[in-house]
């Protein structure tokens, strides 16, 4: 601990309480009591322990702080106001439409790395940051503040598991155990030994403390990094601590005080005579910043048209190829690396690969954490299992995270493994992530080129890869910009829009129809979001405004809905061929036929038009 007066920190903690109360009262909503329980912890961290450049929250070796219990946002904002980053008066704009001080922390603020407020997500992101620090040989620590209600979330234990396995002694979890949840007391109340046992069982060193005793808080923080385990600090606290009529009382979750109550509360709190602005904050060690610049280019490809390569394998090839020159790239998987082919990267760059085991929420959280540190993280598993992390992906969207997801084994074409292993809703889910890019390549060349695009495009990009081998149809120099599409056949009767394995069914249908004197246009819509609306529209206009979409995905929210949703307004008629009904085990070709997404079904549909 730095040489800061305990009394001063007590005063600052009360100042943070006062800010939390005044800002939520001004807003007319918010969670002041959830701020008060953690005020002493946050004051001690920010003004008596953490090493950071308060004027430059993005400095590469600053200690990181994640407020996983995001509803205590006013407390976080108050702490940064007290560092002097902005005037405290701005706190009174809390929750206003024109303010960056949102109800829960978001990236509108420079000191927020990830949006929080969907509980239980912070520790995984923190684990990713801690792993990034290790990779970059930086000595910053990552502090994650969690609520006690929040640690019922399984995602917390996925993160705890990985932190224990990788002995992340630069990761510190602090549990603000204030006993009261939203609608009732937590299951264990102040029996906080339960939490201690759990973290211990997950491989952590644990300290149990009085979360309102600043001396004790500072003392256990002084032990950060002393051994090779991550550190969990279980802090017994009181919701509304410091204010007699709020402390440990039911019925005050998520309620602001009215003006009279606020005045009464503030009268009970002794703020510091000195503001936090004057407190010396220790500077981080000036270690070299990692080189996170994008490379000038990537090595070229070497496929032959006609080669049969599964797109999932091309993904692995691409990662290993571009990882050579793009040092920003890291990868992680959920014990499926031999199926997603991320093992090709792992074998080449073991230091830049994190095995996350079977825990997809944490897989995405860890990747998000790496992304906040300037890395380009590629996380892979079966696309069906990314559904497990749907909320993490949703929130990553709000965080505008730089996150690359590669989901393999999509659709009924995986065959015999059966429905639980088939991703048939992944495009619906990924399209509905704010700012996302959804890519669905059909051959090895387009896959590799799209992986390059993913690495070069900031934001959330999802790559949908297939299990079966498919022939290479593009030359090695073909370009695949995000938002593009390729016209592979031109005809008169209809425009067929497809991607993935069903694109080959469309091509087969086109060739057979041609033999019967019917011509169709076939478009490879490898970029599902953003969709190449102009290309499809232009083609459709030449085919009687008629489009047939074909996809190995449920009928809802996928390629067909994307095309109809964008083109119906232009009077284009979109006929959707997609998977309807309960899938089952079987051979890929049997399933494509059964669900009416094979060449025969496409021909039948075209003829019926």
């Amino acid at each position: 601990m730095i040489d800061t007066d305990i009394e001063l920190l007590k005063g600052i903690a009360n100042q943070l309480r006062i800010h939390s109360i005044t800002s939520t009262t001004a807003a007319g909503s918010g969670h002041p009591t959830s701020c008060c329980s953690a005020a002493d912890i946050v004051a001690t961290l920010f003004f008596g322990h953490m090493r950071y450049d308060a004027k430059n929250p993005h400095y590469h070796n600053n200690d990181r702080f994640i407020l996983s219990k995001g509803h205590a946002a006013p407390l976080l904002y108050a702490a940064w106001a007290e560092t002097g980053l902005f005037p405290a008066s701005e706190l009174l704009t809390l929750r206003q439409f024109t303010s960056n001080f949102e109800g829960h922390p978001t990236l509108r603020l420079p000191f927020v790395d990830v949006a929080t407020g969907s509980l239980g997500q912070g520790l995984s992101v923190g684990a990713g940051m801690a792993l990034a620090a290790r990779l970059d040989k930086l000595d910053y620590n990552t502090y994650v503040l969690l609520g006690d209600g929040e640690i019922a979330e399984g995602s917390v234990w996925e993160a705890a598991n990985i932190a224990g396995i990788y002995k992340l002694n630069n990761l510190i979890a602090i549990v603000d155990a204030n006993r009261l949840g939203q609608s009732q007391a937590t299951a264990f109340g102040h029996d906080i030994g339960v939490y201690a046992k759990r973290f211990e069982a997950f491989g952590w060193r644990v300290e149990v403390i009085d979360g309102h005793d600043i001396e004790e808080i500072a003392e256990v923080l002084g032990g950060v990094g002393l051994d090779d385990k991550p550190l969990a600090i279980i802090a017994k606290t009181y919701k509304g601590a410091g204010i007699s009529f709020l402390q440990d009382k039911d019925g005050w979750h998520g309620k602001p005080l009215n003006k009279d109550e606020a005045a009464k509360a503030i009268a009970e709190l002794q703020p510091s005579s000195k503001s936090g602005v004057g407190v010396p904050i220790p500077a981080p060690n000036p270690l070299p910043a990692p080189d996170n610049a994008a490379p000038a280019g990537y090595p070229s490809l070497n496929y032959k048209v006609g080669d049969k390569v599964a797109t999932r394998e091309a993904y692995g090839n691409a990662l290993a190829r571009i990882g050579e020159v793009d040092r920003r790239i890291v990868a992680m998987d959920g014990d499926t690396k031999n199926s997603t082919y991320s093992e090709k990267f792992f074998k080449k760059f073991p230091d830049r690969f994190t095995e996350c085991f079977i825990a997809e929420q944490n897989l995405v959280g860890v990747a998000t954490g790496f992304g906040t540190r300037g890395k380009v993280p590629f996380a892979s598993t079966f696309a069906a299992f990314f559904t497990r992390a749907a909320d993490q992906i949703r929130v990553a969207g709000i965080s505008q995270a730089n996150l690359k997801l590669a989901g393999s084994h999509v659709g009924v074409s995986i065959g015999e493994d059966g429905p639980t292993q088939m991703a048939l809703e992944d495009m619906a889910l990924m399209r509905a992530v704010v700012g996302s890019v959804v890519l669905y390549p059909s051959d090895a060349v387009s896959t590799e080129k799209l992986v390059e695009q993913m690495a070069l495009t900031k934001g959330i990009c999802f790559l949908r890869t297939s299990r079966p081998k498919t022939p290479v149809i593009y030359g090695n120099d073909e370009q695949f910009p995000i938002g593009g599409a390729k016209v592979l056949r031109e005809g008169a009767k209809a425009t067929i829009v497809s991607a993935g394995v069903t694109l080959f069914e469309a091509l087969k249908a086109a060739d057979q129809l041609k033999a019967e004197g019917i011509t169709v246009t076939v478009i490879d819509a490898y970029s599902v979001k953003p969709l190449a609306k102009d290309v499809i529209l232009a083609a459709a206009k030449k085919t009687g405004n008629t489009v047939v979409t074909v996809e190995d995905h449920y009928s809802e929210g996928g390629l067909g809905d994307a095309v109809a949703g964008e083109l119906s307004v232009d009077g284009i008629k979109v006929h959707k061929l997609a998977v309807n009904g309960l899938p089952r085990s079987g051979k890929a070709e049997e399933l494509l036929a059964h669900f009416g997404i094979d060449a025969a079904a496409i021909m039948k549909k075209v003829k019926s038009l």
Copy 2:
């Protein structure tokens, strides 16, 4: 333990191994080594411990068995074949298109309660079953077999937590710790004391055993229910156990043996001289079956047109009202019951309510478990947080589960709490669940009637409720069939299709446009899936084939895409008004205006047509 010869069980275990090998070899795919590790456990459970009527797998007081490690499906099928339920020869149809013996267990088989294979989901379902047994005063036990790789999933620890809290001593988790995952060894290998500590820390009694010692397995199973805790049995096993060239060997995950290897393996296994068919299985106690019949009708409503009631509150009112006569209804929440208003049910029927705390995956799993036992489970939380359970909901679709989800606080209209709390992708997610029903009511009467429909309709039904109060617009006797829609205004210029808070914006726009001499049709599309295509199409044809959809949801996968996806084929032009771009905190009306989904935006769009 029943009086079964240990040697006989050993023989049956080997018979199960042989079936697992022969069926996967016949199929040419599958996971024989993952079956072999658990064969002794399953043989002992099915032929030396569990009480069930093997001829009637659905008997209400049978012990339940969930194969959470679903990839060991051939082992499960083999066990039931050995009970005599069907001829063992049928096992050779494994994974064929025409067979019910799918790659992972599904409901095509009468002895499967939930589809498994997306790992880590079985224990939550088991907890729901165990809670149902308690509610129904039945003494069956629920056994869940998990893999060791699988327990890295956070969902397992959410389930472990709830089972510990509710002291479910009728729930037994058996961990088949065979050391090897799919792509590499598990993090802890055979250091299985780690797992023991974890379950203990989560409130379980733990037994650590040799998973190939049938006497030991039987002995610890004999202790089921002896104290008030759930029981975890950590079984040290070997992948491929019993076959010299497979046992504990890397590189055999998910690989069938070729015919020669299979013959060699089988030669090493000593099957029982007597088949399992002859083994006496103890009958369950003939306790009375619960009355799970639907009621003849529900009490009537008593709203007045013009009353202002949030649909989330009407949900709570409905549950409390119909719960009175519908004893099948149970409810559960994730510590948001005061916001979702499920507390209205909780206060009236505390015995039929399960507080699941902040753990949404388990919330959905517990509800699914209740559903398998003839209950009608209503699970509620903020709709945004159901995203956390997206995979559980996906698999519940495959399980054709009877599951009712009520998600509140949808859209930007929640206002100040900000983006992480806003559900803007829930319709995309829920529409893409196979067999799902998606309902989006606007007023209290329609909400209450739709909750009745949910209770009466088997399957997954999602109710989308809003935070703001909205006026009652329907009379108490109005009917709201699933798949219907209501035409609220009729006009000439365009058909506006909406639901929820934006329906009132549409009505306001219609009334203001009328004052300016422009008439529009307004449709309340309360049933988003199935959509009332006929109603919307008929209206659109009268308004120049022009539809405007308005929704408090992202542009992708919601109401607009649903309407366009179904109607573009008829030449209807669908203009979508939806949330595009990153949401933020603010007042509801500011946000509706900012994202162009308020009355002013609707008027502008209509005038532009």
